[in-house]
Symmetry: C2
Subunit: 489 residues, 2 copies
């Protein structure tokens, strides 16, 4: 066997073990007995230790040195394996263990602090997490920017400065759009109760309507919906609320976007580094374009309106136009995960600036709540009323996810670019969506983006699909046009 | 850290990884998407390779040499780790891989051959499996008996000759009892349909009635019921048939017997070699005593009769005595898994003699069908009508499980011994069972057997619980008494 073949055989097993670790996560959030938690923590630690040892195995360095890649795919595999190897060996094993231990405990402390509305109870452990993550960032950055090194984990080849530049273009226009929209009368909101079993049934129809393949997937309920797995085993979860069926439907479509990406990757890459979505940002572009540009379009909501009438009977919204307005209603709120298309990215920018300042040392953990509340007031115009609506609302920092938040907004930006290109490529898209036919859109995304998996870098991936450099303009124009029309601006 | 502590830390991770591999098996049989099968095979192979490497890690030999155990539990841990290590290093890696590959394919061939009633289609791959297993047995036995080496995998410290001696005592009395019972009029059989959701609900009640802890377990449906996992995550499955609720209820009680054993083990042994059932035979003793000596007793079936009336209304059986006779009906049949207490072990003895002859080379695979059919005719008095009722009925040999079958009967023998001791220790057992209270029985089993896990050898485990050497006499007397009374012999 050649060095390349030996490396790839080794890597294939590593990928398979990675899939197993992911499936344990799925199990934990869906079916695991409650009392199994302490044992599960040890099981996760054991398989993570195996994965860590394999990712930093000295043979990988030797194989990388000797490997002679014969084509672009092989070169991309090596690029990815090298990135992972170099990243893994840079972080001292003791530091990696300390981070795992502290973040595992911090998650519980955070949940309790949020329940108790007690920021002070969370600060000591967050201080520890921030210190350890800064240490990790310094080890990774080797003199470079600590925050950039964190972003690399989720959005390779992308820097904090690049993100900052994009956000600087977005923020004033989003603040202005939000203000204009909220001056107008709010659309009707959904009232009444919607049978949860019927929600799940329609949800399953939505999933397959958007191309999710249940032969290599399955749908379950979870407290926080997610998608998990690659290749031939890609599972999604959703949730139901008796009074809010949109939460169920759009969670489902969102997770189907993630899952369809994984299911759409060329199976030749399965169980290799290229056999999964290339970055969190590109992943989010798929979930967002499915959910928003397609799922919340006037054309598709017209079809969904009929489905809901069929499933639930009359539910108090008089016609498809009113339904479209209800689906896209913009309302004041505090919570990122509940935010609409107009406001969502303002939540992200707030977090981006704060976490970057935490990593640089410009912001002390003890000043976090004040900084959060001040910034929120400035962008949203009203004060945070309680910590669970403010700096305690997200789990991310407690588990050490710094550099992750901006990928949500990059996803929206990428979705805007893809949507513009898709409209040009499929002129009768609305006519298709109006009949519940997403195949023109999802087929285009699969062909032009999803099937490549990790073959190209994230930006190249978007650029090849769209035929242009990714930037925020298409997304901002889309928002201004859509909500301008909806709200008569 | 001492060598012992280092070894145990290493072992703890290995046990955690073993639990993960087991949970992948659970996932496959309950929730896995159908189309995920090929990827799952690679995932299983990857984690099995990790486990194999750890079990044969040269450091284990060094630690074993240096370890200085301080108590009985530590000595038992080392005994178990040494057994596993020595077994693993004796089998060449290439042979282990060949067995994994061939048995994986053979299982599919067997399923197709069974569906087609085509023995000839199965024989070539079974010939391969038998040859590889004999090679493995020879490597393990190192000049000793090949079949004994196979039995060691499932029932440590037990030989084919010991089993043979027990079976020789059992067979004539079982043949005689069967003949006498079948001469008598058969009891009423169940008729009508039983709602499957109601079966599952009553099944869950039965599970908790027998002490199954759903906080560290869960119940799902599977084609072939099984129990899986140790420590804080022990899951069971059952099945439903609209016309046969007993299948559901007694599958559940059987699997709860296995699961209660795992849940009953001292948590100090969790994620160590001692933290699981000590052998297949002792495991089966728990599932069998729960299912039969307790669950099919006159006292408990009286309670179950009332539960069924409550759940399903009148169902055509006039009173608890008639119900007891129906539950314990002995009828002609071909299939091991459907056999009653009287006939079950005759099925096992047939397989034991045939597989022992296959392993010794006395029986050629091509003569297997004839040998099976001749033996069946001799023991049961009528001819096999089709291969799926004969030598193609069990999956075991296709997946390389030779030496496993006798542990089912050892379980029955052990259950007989335990039942005798239990009756002596809990004189009012029937009064308890008649009210659906199993705590006297299950508490005694937990205290005297289950909590020890792998601390003692299988035979010691039974001997300590019963206060006597395990032998077939109590089981045979129990059967003759129970069915003698039921059938008026």
């Amino acid at each position: 066997m050649s060095a390349y073949d030996e490396l790839m055989a080794f890597q294939r097993e590593t990928s398979a073990l990675g899939q197993i670790a992911g499936r344990l996560g799925w199990d934990q959030e869906t079916v695991m007995p409650r009392g199994a938690a302490p044992q599960r923590a040890e099981e996760m630690a054991a398989i993570e230790a195996v994965l860590h040892a394999r990712r930093s195995d000295p043979r990988v360095a030797e194989w990388l040195e000797q490997a002679d890649p014969q084509d672009d795919a092989a070169r991309a595999q090596l690029r990815d394996i090298r990135r992972t190897y170099e990243r893994t060996v840079k972080v001292p094993a003791d530091l990696a263990k300390a981070i795992a231990r502290v973040t595992s405990a911090a998650q519980g402390t955070w949940a309790q602090a949020r329940a108790d509305e007690d920021v002070a109870a969370f600060l000591p452990v967050l201080t520890e997490v921030v210190a350890l993550k800064r240490e990790e960032g310094a080890a990774l950055a080797q003199g470079g920017d600590v925050y950039d090194a964190m972003v690399e984990d989720y959005e390779p080849y992308t820097t904090g400065a690049q993100i900052s530049e994009i956000f600087d273009q977005m923020r004033p226009r989003l603040v202005a759009l939000r203000a204009a929209v909220l001056e107008k009368p709010a659309p009707q909101v959904l009232a009444g109760k919607f049978d949860e079993l019927t929600q799940m049934r329609l949800s399953q129809k939505l999933a397959t309507t958007f191309g999710y393949d249940l032969n290599t997937g399955r749908m379950d309920k979870a407290v926080h919906p997610f998608s998990s797995g690659s290749g031939l085993d890609v599972r999604i979860t959703t949730r139901t609320s008796e009074t809010d069926p949109f939460n169920c439907f759009y969670s489902t479509i969102h997770e189907v976007g993630h899952a369809a990406y994984e299911q759409g990757i060329d199976l030749a890459y399965a169980l290799t580094p290229l056999g999964q979505g290339v970055s969190m940002g590109v992943h989010e572009s798929q979930s967002r374009i499915y959910e928003n540009q397609l799922g919340r379009s006037r054309a598709f909501t017209g079809w969904l309106y009929d489905q809901m009438i069929d499933a639930f009977g009359e539910f108090g919204i008089s016609d498809p136009d009113a339904f479209y307005a209800t689906v896209n209603g913009v309302h004041n709120g505090y919570i990122r995960t509940e935010a609409d298309e107009v406001q969502y990215n303002l939540h992200i920018m707030l977090r981006f600036d704060l976490e970057r300042a935490l990593m640089s040392g410009d912001l002390n953990v003890n000043d976090l709540e004040t900084a959060w509340n001040d910034r929120f007031k400035a962008d949203f115009g009203y004060a945070i009323d309680k910590p669970s609506n403010g700096c305690l609302q997200d789990v991310h920092w407690s588990v050490g996810l710094f550099g992750y938040f901006p990928t949500y907004s990059l996803g929206n930006v990428y979705a805007g670019c893809l949507h513009q290109a898709l409209r040009a490529a499929v002129p009768d898209l609305d006519a298709q969506l109006a009949t519940g036919d997403t195949s023109g859109a999802t087929g285009w995304l699969r062909e032009n983006l999803q099937r490549h998996g990790g073959l190209y870098t994230p930006r190249e991936t978007i650029q090849r699909a769209c035929g242009m450099q990714a930037g925020p303009e298409p997304f901002l124009s889309y928002l201004e046009e859509k909500f301008g029309a909806l709200y008569g601006l």
